[in-house]
Amino acid sequence: MSSTTNWRWWELLLWCGAFAMPWLWAERALVINEIAILALFAVSLDLILGYTGIVSLGHAAFFGVGAYSAALFAKFVHPDPLLGLLVGAACATVLGAVCSATILRGSDLTRLMVTLGVALILLELANKFDGLTGGTDGLQGVVIAPLFGRFAFDLYGQVPATYSLGVLLLLFVLARRLVQSPFGATLVAIRDNRLRAMAIGIPVAQRLVVVYTVAAGVAGCAGALLAQTSGFASLDLFEFHRSADVMLVLVIGGTGWLYGGVLGALVFQVLQKAISSVTPQYWTFWIGLFLVVLVLVGRERLVRPWTWRFGGQRV
């Protein structure tokens, strides 16, 4: 059992490669930054969707809150990036704790609706308080101080990319510990059979609240990173397509194994850049077709070819 907690060679290779990329391939540094942020967002969704089975169509709510609070903090209080990151995470975590009360009961449809509703409410609120958020124009002019007082967020994007990758790695390691722990196993139990989970003494409601809050906080970190590295926050962060996109990213990479978020983000961004350059509308069509085919063929079978031989799923 404990062999699964050791890091495998390809994981070390992946992370070393990821950190080297912005420096070896400078003109792609901005893209790498985007991928890192999207990956973190997807990993946060994996915690609640992949591991706990909570279908959420409004995870962008926490992403947006993290972004706006970090941006506002940098603009009006203090431009230090790490403080801003903590503020963004804290605000999203609080919102997550509050909203976790809404996902405890009800069917999948109910959960879909309340998660969607929360994101839409935040969109409306952000629109209403446009004095603070900039409304449809967005919040502009967010200037971030140099990281650790030395590494400025330059135009080339290498420092931001490394910053995002660093945060991603840190949170990924923590998430990895979490899902491989007894706590993580109880999440899987809740996903697979909530009735039985209760019948073996797992305090289901409490676990749901904790994991939802944690996932919200991590999503908030991703949002904060986006606001800080792009210097900008806009209303579309709360929109439905953000929540749908991150779900798609996770599904592409595979739910329930954390790396699904990372690899999905990589594939998604690469594909999007490639296909969108042909025609913007085509992207929506092909994504739609991909989803339909993916589900008809079977999610696990398509995206994890190595499981075809050994069968089963890793926890």
Partner: protein, 252 residues
């Protein structure tokens, strides 16, 4: 009865116009080997659901070791030693038997909230898990996901999960249903071999098994208690025979 470890008083459960459980009073003594029998649809599983907190009673109360648990959440009843198995297997399909039992044991030993330690790292958990896998003949399949296991193995796992929780009161809902005849004896022997102070309430249709196992029986018909007593007087009771005669004709 004062030494009853689990008791239900005048339990009633209504669903809209239907009364599934009608004024049921049941006492389970310490170390009991108590069987609950009755025709299909008599409300036996509903009663178990009421006792474990899956359903809330419309009226009546439930006491565990003298304390009123009528409003206590299901998972807290488990923590106090009230454990059940399910008539239809309720398992964690994506986990293997080893992972399942490790999880159950971790939760039972209070490690369920630990997020920084790997699952199965605790030595005591590992030891108990190995013991259970051995006891229930699940070693060959210990690492395979539950969804690919044969029915018999799944049933064994179902019981193993309950025993991993070290129950003080064990509610078994048709434990040998669907298990091949040769393995039934073994399964019930494992149950019978539980410590003498564990109280067991058994729902079962196989009368031979019931009579060889139980020292006390309650007969439930249409949600109400028909009669209660030791096996011999139940077997001789003409009302019980009348209730079951229809059953036996139907089964052929």
């Amino acid at each position: 009865m004062n030494d009853a470890v689990l008791s239900a008083h005048a339990l009633v459960k209504r669903f809209g116009g239907i009364t599934a459980t009608s004024n049921v009073t049941l006492h389970l003594a310490r170390g009991a080997r108590h069987a609950l029998i009755g025709p299909n649809g008599a409300g036996k599983t509903t009663l178990i659901n009421l006792l474990t907190g899956v359903l809330q009673p419309t009226e009546g109360s439930i006491r565990l070791q003298g304390q009123d648990i009528s409003r206590l959440a299901p998972h807290l009843r488990v923590r106090r030693g009230l454990v059940r198995t399910f008539q239809i297997n309720q398992l964690f399909d994506s986990l293997s038997p080893q992972q399942t039992l490790t999880l159950v044991l971790s939760q039972h030993l209070g490690l369920g909230a630990r997020w920084w330690q790997a699952l199965g790292a605790d030595a005591e958990v590992q030891r108990r898990c190995d013991a259970l896998l051995q006891q229930f003949h699940l070693q060959e399949v210990r690492a395979m996901p539950t969804r690919v296991l044969a029915y018999g193995k799944r049933r064994l796992l179902e019981i193993a999960i309950a025993l991993a929780c070290e129950p003080r009161v064990l509610l078994l809902d048709e434990p040998v249903a669907g298990v091949p005849a040769g393995e039934r004896e073994e399964l019930l022997q494992t149950v019978a071999a539980l410590p003498a102070d564990v109280s067991i309430l058994l729902i079962e249709h196989d009368m031979d098994l019931v009579f060889s196992f139980a020292t006390r029986m309650t007969v439930l018909v249409n949600g109400a208690v028909l009669t209660e007593g030791d096996p011999q007087s139940i077997a001789d009771d003409p009302r019980v025979k009348a209730v079951y005669l229809g059953e036996e004709v139907a089964h052929g």
